[in-house]
Subunit: 711 residues, 2 copies
């Protein structure tokens, strides 16, 4: 109630005071926003409520010149709204990515690493993949075991009919168009999703991007950053006729999608109609989905919420992005949207490369970190591993061995393009493993073995990039599409040799495998000879045999490789070659019986003996290597024991041979030699292995134990 | 003017409206803050204006249980003030760190890497260092060339008298106390500084920490996070008598200092008085500076501004930090404040280790990125390098060679503890370089060479950590304090062999150096024999000579090293040893004249000839290696040419020898062999080298050119 006495003066005074106060608050709001702009409020850029006229350029299109979408030249519009909070601590964020092929799979992993590095929320990844990307990424995420990340796959090939009618000139091909069909593909109850191209890199927390959903008006359904080039303005060169767009148009490398609203608005009809209509005048899309998104937006400008430019800093050849990032306090997402990718010409490209290389080379194992305070259920196998690890005793002298055995290594299968011919019925894949210090041998190996190979590489993330550059620089290696390289990421101090071998073995696609070591060069004829022998010996018809390839060695880094068994024998007699490990460990190959081999004209059977470790050809479904053997020692021996226990015949091939090249001793063998603990632990592993053998094979396994106990 | 007609009703309505609006704004403020708290506003935690009673616990001390210092249980105090902006985009932030010795220098580098990774502001580092840390860090920052980072050094040894009177039981020793004297040491016009312990790691932008200065009231001068253990509550065990503190006290691993206010308040008198007073009752400080800071704060609680716990998450054995980080949306700085560091027992230690390992292993070269929009003047040498790089032609087939030559590699000298005995007048240091694949040879080398060594290691940041673990695991290597390891960080595709050698050579501390290669094992007697020869040949008296150590090689990884020249000759005759590169490149050592050496009883002079590349002993001030030779080829040959051009006598020592061990060929030699471009580029380098020789030595250099032109 207002006082009745002296009403006017008092009322006026009170009103004046209130007006002043009110004005102060209003003014302060403005001031705050302005300060934030100038001072660089990083987490909460002021965002304009968008006002895109139906018939004109959206305000956002004038906005290449500053970071957040605010006029920087002093005209502070009062539609600057205060910053909004990030999503709640444990809110699940959804991300969709279309990915096909080997290269895109590598790109997606780098993108995901950058996202995981900064994220603090649980994530659900919706991956639309072809068969290649699916098998790569499924294996990767299965072995990565990142807490609070769930991955769903959607079959891109099934979606092809929905977009294959659209002619498209963009290098991303058909897959480039698939973002258009996401509203129909993703779960019907999923309302919001961030859609990303495979060639973006995060430099900030994706939750800040997700937070921009709250700025959407009731009709807006698509959040996009303006295109940072003049492409859509047209006439970049003669006959350049871009698809229609509002002003510079928008870039679809980073999209916020309100799926619920798009579905409700009849998105599928809208974009199909628009595409059909434009295709009457234009021969094809040039920029895939982006052309169609822009055409739709031009027709329905109310759908779009422009996002601050820092959320999609586009690094094409003639980008205008500089106007964005030079003024901005911060860069949130970079987008390598030139077909040249990191080789793009741009005066600041070195800066952006460092951001990208950070995650390209980042040790993905470090991203296996939990989210404090959020439930982060682990996949079942991760749970088991954690329990097993927790049960290990800190006092155990062999703790390092136990931990290494329990380590689940991240695996990236077919790291490089792999398109082998369909395997024949007697075909054989060379299986081996290596680390970076053996890359030099690959070219020679390719020359000696013209058939398929499945190689396990034990590398850090940074080394995997070195490996990639090495292959790209080699004409010999680049030409081979039948060599599959499977990266097993390094973790822990001991070399998990048998785990790496098992990865390579599991990926072999031919019915037979030649289980070799990377330092062996096979006889040039070996690939043909093995296939002929497999056929001749009727291995396919249920005959359970392991074909032994006799092993030799040279001490010289340069030597002329024998072209026949006769030449090999001559070199052996001349002392230029030796039987393998003749000086250090003749037991390992003694049962092969080199004397008999000299004369042999036909395959001959030999008996297992202690410490025998020949290189053999076996069916692909042979027993796996025992992963308990980590580091140096007994890793192959145990596998041959297993073959013998399963009653594989051991047949030595009379014309087969492979020659070991010299190399620096591994760190593991040095440790074995210098540490009694190391040797004791290996002894303990052997004994446990034999206990398991007895358990599985009963009395038949006794002979192995007896052999072990003999000096 | 108020309207005169219908004044009351209208006035009342207007007033009501304004009240409503006013109320809305007030209310919204509160709401915002609350939402920010719950939703986890990461960049701007709401901060309470501190109210610390003079006689009681500060409010902050009750605040272990949540992230930002706000009561989370629903009692929203109205002293929640709105978030404040970050410092202006290009504001210079000051950081002070006390650092002494080899280990702390390594720690500081990791801390600085984490800081640089997130920073967006120019930084000025104030480093209070002993002589060891200064030489390490000066070289590091000089070669790192990070834009917008300036470093100032302050001599810790000069400050010792100011704190050495305080008995201190903390493991950080005297240096642990030096933070107390910073207000007097840092430039008098410096008003604000962030002070950090060497064992903290950033997980966020330091500008957010700097922004907390604005919360200081007029009298507050020290910003600190509460101690996250019960240490200062006392009675942790029998006879545990901590220094006085407010409640749990504060941790001094992260400090915001208002230097201006401390100076004005007479800080030096205050803390000295307090320390003197407490030391009457207590025998010594247990936690160094932290005890004294806490005692002062207990006496002057108005000085302290409590900081949110996330800015110093303390990871000691029995930390209460979990109460902080489980609720917080974000962790900003972690502090390894247990003497056990990363081996501390803590159920979440794996999480924190991943944050730390991220920067331990991060490629520091990637931090050489500019700050967009801020002036980032480069050091002069960086400017020159950039210009030279910009002038290279993209078309040049040898571009990779040119770029590699111009690369300034980051250098970390004396990566591990190095305390050599004072060098004698004839003392000689073995100088060599290696990469990770040669670590295995180090133990053997230590056994063969009991004298000082200066080794350049070409490593990535991650490999440097592998190297560290390798040395720590080796009793032989750990015992040697006279072997200096200098890390040259990898960058670029070609091996900068001569740049690495020059780093090792420049760090040799003895008057003479033995310029060897890492794969050579010297005769066991060589170190003594060389010193005797130097003395005997009077090299010190101005005789300009290079003493040649004849080189041999074995092809066997296992062989018994000859204990005398006679034994060596016997092995040579038996074909177990060869003269070095006898099979591949005899020219390299032909002038040594092995036939003459067999019989020689005294040193003999030999003449230079083309391609001669012996291993020599020379004075430390000998010519440097020519850094233009990167990759494989001619790098040592050019150095010997330079010695000959400067008229060094070449004297072969009759009892000296070293034996080369076999190893896998390097990637560079493989490239040399397989690429004609590589060979052409090497040829171009040679020719440029000879042009430079002619320029420097005139006609005397003609013989080298003539020799080069001969087939």
């Amino acid at each position: 109630m207002l006082p009745r006495g002296r009403p006017r003066a008092l009322g006026a005074a009170a009103l004046l005071l209130l007006l002043l106060l009110f004005g102060f608050f209003l003014f302060r709001e403005d001031l705050e926003c302005e300060r934030r702009e100038r001072g660089g409020s990083r987490a909460f850029p002021c965002v304009l409520t968008p006002r895109i006229p139906l018939d004109g350029r959206p305000r956002g299109t004038a906005d290449l010149d500053g970071g957040p979408q605010v006029d920087h030249r002093g005209h502070n519009h009062s539609d600057c709204i205060p910053p909004l909070p990030l999503p709640p601590k444990c809110e699940l964020l959804h991300v969709a990515i279309v990915c096909a092929g080997h290269k895109s799979s590598r790109d997606v992993i780098t993108l995901v690493k950058s996202m995981l590095f900064y994220r603090k929320n649980p994530l659900r990844l919706h991956l639309v993949t072809d068969a290649v990307a699916r098998s790569i990424l499924e294996t990767l995420f299965h072995t990565w075991m990142v807490p609070a990340v769930r991955v769903s796959f959607y079959d891109a090939d099934e979606l092809k009919p929905q977009v294959s009618w659209i002619p498209n000139k963009h290098y991303s091909g058909l897959y480039g168009l698939m973002k258009l069909v996401l509203p129909g593909v993703l779960p019907p109850d999923l309302a919001r999703v961030i859609v990303l191209d495979t060639d973006v890199t995060f430099a900030s927390d994706i939750a800040e991007l997700w937070a921009l959903f709250v700025h959407f008006s009731d009709e807006q359904a698509i959040g996009l950053v303006e295109n940072q080039s003049n492409w859509y303005l047209g006439n970049l060169w003669r006959n350049h006729k871009p698809w229609p767009a509002l002003g510079r148009g928008f870039n679809t490398g980073v999209i916020l999608l309100r799926l619920d609203r798009l579905r409700q608005a009849g998105w599928e009809q809208i974009w199909k109609l628009m595409a059909t209509q434009e295709l009457l005048a234009l021969p094809a899309t040039s920029l895939a989905d982006q052309d169609i998104f822009n055409a739709v937006i031009k027709g329905h400008p109310g759908l779009v919420q422009p996002l601050p430019c820092i959320w999609n800093v586009q690094l094409s050849d003639h980008t205008l992005a500089e106007r964005c990032y030079l003024e901005a306090a911060d860069i949130k997402v970079i987008h390598w949207n030139s077909p040249k990718k990191l080789r793009v010409k741009n005066k600041h490209v070195e800066f952006f490369r460092t951001l990208h290389l950070t995650f390209l080379e980042y040790d993905g194992n470090l991203l296996r970190r939990e989210l404090f305070g959020c439930p982060s259920p682990l996949p079942p196998q991760a749970e088991q591993l954690q329990q097993a690890l927790a049960q290990l005793s800190e006092e155990d002298a062999c703790l390092a061995f136990r931990q290494q055995q329990l380590t689940m290594h991240r695996v990236h299968i077919t790291f490089l393009p792999h398109e082998p011919p369909p395997p024949g019925p007697y075909d054989v894949t060379l299986v081996a493993q290596l680390s970076l210090d053996r890359l030099q041998v690959l070219e020679a190996l390719c020359r000696h073995w013209p058939g398929p190979m499945s190689l396990g590489l034990y590398l850090t993330d940074a080394e995997a990039q070195q490996f990639l550059r090495f292959v790209e620089a080699s004409a010999v290696l680049s030409a081979r599409k039948d060599v599959a390289y499977h990266v097993v990421y390094r973790e822990g101090p001991l070399y998990p040799i048998n785990q790496i071998r098992n990865v390579a073995l599991a990926q072999a696609l031919t019915p037979y495998v030649f289980l070799s070591d990377i330092d062996f060069l096979p006889a040039h004829s070996l690939y043909d000879y093995l296939r002929a022998s497999i056929k001749q010996l009727q291995l396919g018809s249920g005959r359970k045999a392991a074909l032994v390839v006799p092993a030799f060695e040279t001490l010289h880094y340069h030597f002329s490789f024998p072209s026949s068994k006769a030449e090999l024998l001559a070199l052996l007699d001349a002392g230029s070659l030796y039987t393998f490990r003749y000086h250090e460990w003749p037991r390992g190959h003694a049962p092969t019986d080199y004397a008999r081999w000299r004369e042999a004209q036909a395959p001959y059977r030999v008996q297992w003996a202690a410490d025998y470790e020949p290189y053999v050809v076996v069916p692909r479904d042979c027993p796996r290597y025992d992963p308990r053997f980590v580091g140096f020692g007994w890793n192959k021996v145990a596998h041959i024991v297993e073959l013998d226990a399963q009653e594989y015949e051991l047949l030595v091939l009379p014309e087969a041979f492979a020659i070991h090249l010299p190399h620096t001793p591994s760190l593991d063998i040095s440790r074995f030699r210098s540490s009694t603990t190391y040797r004791d632990c290996l002894q303990a592993l052997k004994e446990e292995f034999h206990q398991d053998l007895s358990r599985r094979y009963g009395a038949a396994a006794l002979k192995y134990l007896t052999a072990l106990r003999q000096p």
